[in-house]
């Protein structure tokens, strides 16, 4: 039952997140490429997406971290798991660079890819299928590289 309530909240959060992506312009590849194209006609508006998100996020994540430090659970009763902030590794940088190259090629990152699929945009399906394939490649590739 507790799990069902958590899933309900996660669904609502996904909806809100997706509405934010649609409203902001992040789910339009033309706008993303316009933002990444410093040498062309630069469209700075997407900088405000991250700006707006972080402006709200700063105080609220502080609250979440303080709850976590006091060993208090999240509102749903689930424990608060926040990842570590240190650990700057080659895989962090190289993975981010690969991701950035893909982002620059199509102008789509994971959230907008799913939103485009949900908008029944055929290229969104192509992108998401390839992204899932890339995610499936991760474990075997990681194993092969760490041998």
């Amino acid at each position: 039952m507790k799990h069902r309530a958590q899933a309900g909240q996660a669904f609502a959060i996904g909806l809100l997140f997706g509405i934010g992506l649609l409203l902001s312009g992040m789910s339009n590849p033309q706008k993303v490429i316009g933002f990444l194209d410093l040498a062309g006609a630069w469209d700075p508006s997407l900088a405000l997406v991250m700006g707006g998100a972080i402006a709200v996020g700063l105080p609220l994540f502080r609250l979440a971290e303080s709850r976590s430090q006091r060993q208090l659970p999240a509102w749903s009763g689930a424990p608060i798991h926040l990842p570590g902030k240190t650990g700057i590794t080659p895989r962090l940088v190289l993975g981010s660079v690969l991701f950035g190259i893909g982002w620059g090629i199509a102008g789509i990152c994971p959230g907008p890819g799913l939103v485009l699929l949900g908008s029944l945009q055929w290229p969104g399906l192509v992108f998401v299928l390839a992204m899932v394939a890339g995610m499936l490649l991760f474990r075997p590739l990681d194993k092969a590289l760490s041998r």
Partner: protein
């Protein structure tokens, strides 16, 4: 360099960003976890536990356009910038890259930067730098 200055687009970007920030904070405060899309989807692909929460979040993202359509009457304009081979390559790079980096624009860019995480700052600078470089290469040097 010319700069496109569109007040309506700037306002929409800011408002959308605020909603994204609220969603990410709700995930942390309500469910105790990071609203990182590549991590939530990647865990689903890998068969990680708490499948229902992951699937519900992804389901919400997929159904957001339907809700947006209901609320506003039409979806925002979309223009694709890549053909099918480019979409396949981009998707593969995004999928494998975000898993190696343990995060994408949402997990590192929104949640990590909101937490002032040095690790997420390095990730964000890396993917943004690579994005700027890829666009310069593809749309100026090779175009």
């Amino acid at each position: 360099m010319t700069i496109i200055w569109d007040p309506a687009a700037l306002l929409a970007a800011l408002a959308g960003g605020v909603l994204i920030g609220l969603a990410a904070a709700w995930m942390a405060l309500g469910l105790g976890r990071i609203a990182g899309i590549s991590g939530l989807l990647g865990g689903l692909v890998d068969g990680a536990p708490d499948r229902d929460v992951r699937a519900a979040f992804i389901g919400g993202l997929l159904l957001a356009p339907a809700l947006y359509l209901l609320l506003r009457g039409e979806l925002p304009a979309v223009r694709m910038m890549a053909d099918t081979p480019q979409l396949l390559l981009a998707g593969l790079l995004v999928g494998v890259g975000t898993r190696f980096a343990s995060g994408c624009t949402s997990g590192h860019g929104v949640c990590g930067l909101s937490r002032l995480s040095p690790r997420s700052l390095v990730a964000t600078l890396s993917f943004m730098g690579a994005g700027f470089a890829a666009v310069y290469l593809l749309r100026h040097l090779l175009a």
